[in-house]
Assembly symmetry: D2
Homo-oligomer: 360 residues x 4
């Protein structure tokens, strides 16, 4: 049994940071040895610094860890980042240049051509452009792997088996998203009670662009965007966790509905083959009941790491339509980053600092 | 000043029935003289028979009206029906055959080719097939005018100005609907709290079919469906009133975004020309703010009779996308029927019984 | 017809400020001539400076008023203040000393013995200590009238008729309060969705103290607290507007339940006698239905200015129990202040600056 | 290791029935061998007969069990009943008379003097009146043990340590209850969205009476009610699971706040001593944070079997006040009955039929 990799969490007190803290409790490969957050004017332990908002208690291991400023060095080998977008760019770059592999949940570098935008079941091969990234040296001795926007993870997981078999030409995705996606305090209760918001800043663009990158291919040192057309309309509803995506899709090949259904049901990926710790047994759970998936009933499927698909039907404008649902702060954020780290670790590309160090 | 038309309400104690009772209070053309509902084992006045669920009190005029069984004759000249679908068919037919013009909010006869499926700003000309309907005699000495499904009203109001100018080829509509659309008790709180339901029985089919009928044309004695493709995906969210429709549209003619915007803003119809009592000044209210329309802020626009449109943008798969919102139990139900009756009254085709009688 | 009094609103862009703007539209006695808010780094008109969150549009009169800094002088004779507590103290004092009568909704001066804590139906006589306040000169040429905490207004309105007739000895009030009470952004949606919060900072103390002051008596130059015992437990629930107070009460005199009921029903006050513009016809609406009052159905009773009382029953520990409900941002805030101003105006004590000036 | 007791569930498809099915999955003492529900016109397996509304899937063991009518005999030794009140009386009596020990969650027999109304940490000694119950023979060869109303369980767990140490004289309990307490479909979403209901039929009476019985004492063949005064006011809020009780208490002995706190924290009962399978380690979790307990964060404490207490403070009318919260369908219903069965099993009084049989 290998010694666990020591990891740090940047943004540990936020909504996604708390998910990291929880999901890393008793993790077989990773041990949290550093927590960092902004505005650390004075040293505080995590239990004091953090207003814990998840059901259950703060994991024991984290309670007494002192929350540090967002500055390298931290006492760890790898960092997970759940920093908010604008802020993330400088901090993540600083950690990468200080030699840390950065597993990022932020949007800062997602669309850069030499950054893998990874969903391990969908595009595990994209990880190989890390080598080009390192050669360019922009991220110093470290490196950076990004996971997509929460809705894009859920959407691309549902699209992957269809794209592989039938060739995706066009997708129109309409989302109904949970308030936890906006972090804390995030959405004001006065804005969402008895209401729906038809706007999430930047979200439609992110889904449209990121989907094409995730479904694109690693060509040399860059990711080439997929050629499919992607349209997104995004809404926020009064749901705590669980993003729902109503999707319509057209294919380049003819597909019978039974084949589409079978594609969803049989879908497995590299994380399942490698039996990665956070990989759900079934990345997609297909349901036949007419009223599923639902956030409350399906968001925790596969420990929050499965996407549930239902309501598959022929469409009058596109070829087919269906509804996909996933847990936005698990599969769409902390769990996404964690599975990325597990894949990178399994493929031996996570220990950037050591290899960097060994060069010298 | 003309004597008011005496009207009856079938299903007066239900969610939509209560809206009828409220909207008909102090109406200049109609006077409610009869209330009827199912399960009237014993005579009760409306204040006793009805658990009033709208804010404010039961209108004075209705409190002491005795609620009668759903059987003709009723002491009135016209009936409004808000009966649930399966049940409505026999009762509405019975009233029509007894000589009453029936202004129906139910789904029973909506798709029959000789029944006008009316949205007065959109297809007022469809009212003329009433003559063919009467000649056929299926509805006896009475007649029947239907209003569409609540979502279809809101969608077609938003589509009408675009179809008139640019020729609608395809529309993909994704709805997020309010719980009041399911009547009372309707949706169980356990099903919708912290949840979204991706299924409303029959709704997607209704929207797909009714939209094509409303946007079709009166050809001889029947309505011919429009040729556009219509796709609908429907969801229920934790909202009391107000259906939101995220729409994507493609046109046969080229349209610049300013022209689309202008089409929405300048749209007026026959009800506005005739200054019908329930007609809003502007059937469509176009908003530029990035986060509108919202159910809580916009459902009551124009007294609940306006549809608010926003988030207009070019689409990557279709030509344009936008979001429309309307009050489902006002513009989508009771107000829809009422405006239909006002149009029929203004055009002199409401007094079926008298004209039938006068023939003899 | 008198010339309207020109008024300014301090904190005009906030939740309560917006209610002021709306309630003062077309007011017969007051004309809004100045709007002020914090953080006015550059001049903006109200329509730009304010994210309007009430249903319906910004009143026409307010759209183009420039929002000014919170500094006297303002072009008006009286100011309404809805500033947040800590901040309010200095600003309100500054305006008072500059000669403005300040009608305050903030908590800054509520418990000071020479400040009338006014609910016009309950303790209109407290207004007379304004004279002592002026003589002391602490507020300069101006003066200050406060309205109570939102829950205390609702509670004391319900208690007043009982205290008048039966002598209140003890009250235990348990509140279930709306999120609008916390202003905007206020309560985070993640904190209240599928949840109840058993804590509102400072609220229990405010209710316990303010209730005794409101039900106390004007003795010389000060208000003497009432002798009753008051206990409060406060909760926040997923409701937009409408505070509910479950109350248990004991009296010094014996009271039959019919007398208690009658006391509620017959209660009228000075605002009703004087027919003040914002006074509801009935300050208390008593309901016999077993499931009333409810926030959604009863908060708008009397234009949001009536308190609805129901569920009256004998109690096993106290004499009686009942439930009271009122609109927290209307009767509990903006409407409370407005009615205070109307009473002060009717009694000729509102025009402090002029009278101050005329002395010199 | 003993052979597991074979149990049946009456009302297996309802809200509480589903909790039974889930909590009995992999139970070390009980094995579910029979499921029964009303309206079983045709034989269906549980997976078909039941619309599963809990997160996660139906436990494997239950999927293929045929749901039987509510008639003895069933293939089991003991029955759990979660039938609705009026209906429960006849069915439970029929099963008892057929020789089954009935572990009842219904209200049918709760207040009968010879029926133990059991909360195992609070009044385990009440179980001994089962012997008197059997001698009277009213329940035939079987017997009946009831658990209290969901709110009464939570309240009495919090009161028990105080009553033991300080002697409870009076309690005023104001509840804010979850919608799952009303079963399914239960509360209509239109009634609770953006609303609070101040009424739950029969609930206030149940809490007032049951609390006194639970805190009473077994005297001969009957339970004698406790002498304390109990007042209850009940409300329903927009919460899925978790009943909150705001309590005020007065004692016969003087109590310092530290002693009250310590009484909560140190409280343990017979289930903890016996290490019963469903017994939480701590029946009461005391929290110091000012904003706890909250339904969303605390309902699942101790697997839903702990009651969380917070906001302890001196009260101006009573001695102290505090807030208690528990999971209403676990600790307040299915878990309550299950812990009762575990206690009865541990004390050897569960196998009524055998002992009855052995007499003959």
């Amino acid at each position: 049994m290998r010694r666990p990799v020591r990891v740090g969490i940047l943004g540990a007190t936020g909504t996604v940071g708390q998910r990291f803290v929880k999901m890393l409790d008793h993790h077989p490969e990773f041990e949290v040895t550093a927590l960092a957050a902004s505005d650390r004017s004075k040293a505080q332990c995590y239990a004091e610094a953090c207003t814990w908002r998840l059901p259950g208690e703060i994991p024991e291991y984290a309670r007494d860890l002192v929350v540090l400023p967002l500055k390298p060095p931290l006492e760890c080998e790898v960092v997970f980042s759940s920093l908010p977008g604008p802020f993330a760019r400088a901090v993540e770059m600083e950690f990468a240049r200080a030699g840390y592999p950065v597993i990022s949940n932020s949007s800062a570098f997602r669309m850069e051509p030499d950054v893998p935008l990874l969903v391990p079941e969908v595009n595990p091969g994209h990880l190989r452009i890390l080598q080009a990234q390192r050669e360019k040296g922009r991220f110093g001795a470290g490196c950076l792997v990004a996971n997509p926007n929460c809705s894009a993870v859920i959407l691309t997981l549902a699209l992957a088996p269809l794209h592989q078999r039938f060739g995706l030409e066009a997708v129109a995705a309409t989302t109904i998203q949970a308030v936890s996606g906006a972090g804390y305090p995030g959405v004001a209760s006065l804005d969402i009670l008895d209401n729906v918001l038809p706007y999430i800043a930047g979200e439609e663009e992110k889904i449209e662009q990121e989907t094409r990158k995730i479904l694109g291919r690693a060509a040399g040192s860059e990711i080439e965007l997929g050629g499919m057309k992607v349209s997104a309309q995004c809404h926020r509803a009064s749901v705590s966790d669980g993003h729902l995506v109503a999707a319509r899709v057209s294919f380049s090949k003819r597909a019978r509905i039974d084949d589409v259904r079978e594609a969803f049901e049989s879908f497995r990926g590299v994380p399942q083959e490698l039996r990665l710790h956070s990989a759900p047994e079934r990345p997609i759970i297909f349901r036949d009941e007419p009223d599923r998936p639902q956030p409350r009933l399906d968001r925790d499927a596969g420990g929050g790491m499965s996407v549930t698909v239902g309501r598959l039907a022929p469409d009058t404008v596109f070829d087919y339509r269906f509804v996909a649902l996933g847990h936005n702060t698990i599969r769409g954020a902390a769990g996404a980053a964690l599975l990325n780290a597990e894949l990178a670790n399994a493929q031996g590309v996570l220990h950037a600092r050591e290899s960097a160090t060994s060069k010298h």
